[in-house]
């Protein structure tokens, strides 16, 4: 769908801006990122697991581990709806999502779906929500 491509293009471009801010302060893998990796590997035996810490683009201190994007490619997703797939990821990461992780963008694909488009998308830019929450009565 033409407009669909347009939107994902916009999201993509916007995400790049966000990321370029984020990448400046990012260094080695933090403990939350490590935990996410380990738990998803244990729960879903993914063929591909791509994880990106997008926290740098948000209103959080440098080095934070609050905003992530993950691509999980697993044959376990065969025959499951997007909702069911996401719930599997949420369940595996329940502890992280109840604690440090504020945002988790999920691409849950089967191996065949991943081969069609093997890319970790980028997220739309932060609009400062949590920052404004703190400042708002």
């Amino acid at each position: 769908m033409l407009t669909g491509r347009l939107v994902s293009g916009l999201v993509y471009l916007a995400g790049r801006v966000c990321l370029s801010q984020g990448s400046a302060g990012s260094g080695a893998m933090g403990p939350v990122e490590a935990a996410i990796r380990t738990k998803l590997e244990q729960a879903l035996s993914p063929e591909v697991l791509e994880l990106r810490n997008e926290s740098g683009g948000h209103a959080v201190p440098p080095g934070s581990e609050t905003h992530f994007r993950v691509a999980v490619v697993s044959s376990r997703f065969e025959g499951l709806s997007p909702l069911q797939r996401h719930r599997l990821v949420h369940t595996a990461l329940a502890e992280e999502l109840a604690g440090p992780v504020h945002a988790l963008a999920i691409q849950a694909r089967t191996p065949a779906q991943w081969r069609e488009n093997p890319e970790l998308d980028t997220s739309p830019p932060c609009l400062g929500g949590s920052k404004k929450t703190r400042g708002t009565p």
Binding site: M1, L2, T3, G4, R5, V7, S8, L10, V11, A14, C18, P82, L83, H86, R87, H90, A94, L97, A98, H102, A103, L104, A105, I106, Q107, S123, P124, P125, C126, L127, G128, G129, K132, T133, T136
Partner: protein, 157 residues
């Protein structure tokens, strides 16, 4: 909270057709916050998500989303010409923010409901938009996606 509720209620805008092609657009927000009485009990939320065909829980408002993912949801609905939907700003109400997460068994905001059924968050709505499912789901609700008209226009050229 009550102030923002009043503002949002006052912002009950139904944008008439006129500016063809869907350039300028104002969402038909009918509420923000948690409605009368506040809170996020399962009964209240159950009524809330069933009250309107399209219900979204956002960080911020459709006019001023406070999060990129919430903004993406607003923009997708805009593309489909869905103007008449209920949007609730969870940043106005901590009880609603936690309540809807528990009710949907979904840990993040935004959240989208169609016909009282939980659809998912930004990723899933975007996916449905891209693969054409959203047009179909809207059709089931009697909502004609503006993208169908756009496609027709292109075909006729």
């Amino acid at each position: 909270m009550s102030g923002s509720l009043r503002r949002a209620a006052a912002a009950l805008l139904r944008w008439g057709r006129g500016a063809g092609g869907g350039g300028f657009w104002v969402p038909g927000v009918r509420a923000a916050g948690s409605g009368a009485g506040g809170g996020g009990s399962a009964e209240q939320l159950d009524a809330l998500v069933k009250k309107d065909k399209v219900v979204v829980f956002l960080k911020g408002t459709p006019e001023q989303p406070q999060c990129g993912f919430s903004n993406a949801v607003v923009q997708i609905l805009r593309l489909h010409g869905v103007r008449d939907y209920a949007a609730y700003n969870v940043l106005d109400d901590p009880e609603l923010r936690q309540g809807i997460k528990d009710y949907s068994n979904w840990p993040t905001i935004p959240q989208v409901y169609l016909n009282g059924e939980f659809v998912g968050g930004c990723d899933i709505l975007l996916q449905m938009h891209q693969n054409g499912d959203l047009v179909e789901e809207l059709k089931k609700l009697g909502i004609h996606s503006a993208l169908l008209d756009e496609k027709k226009d292109q075909d006729s050229k």
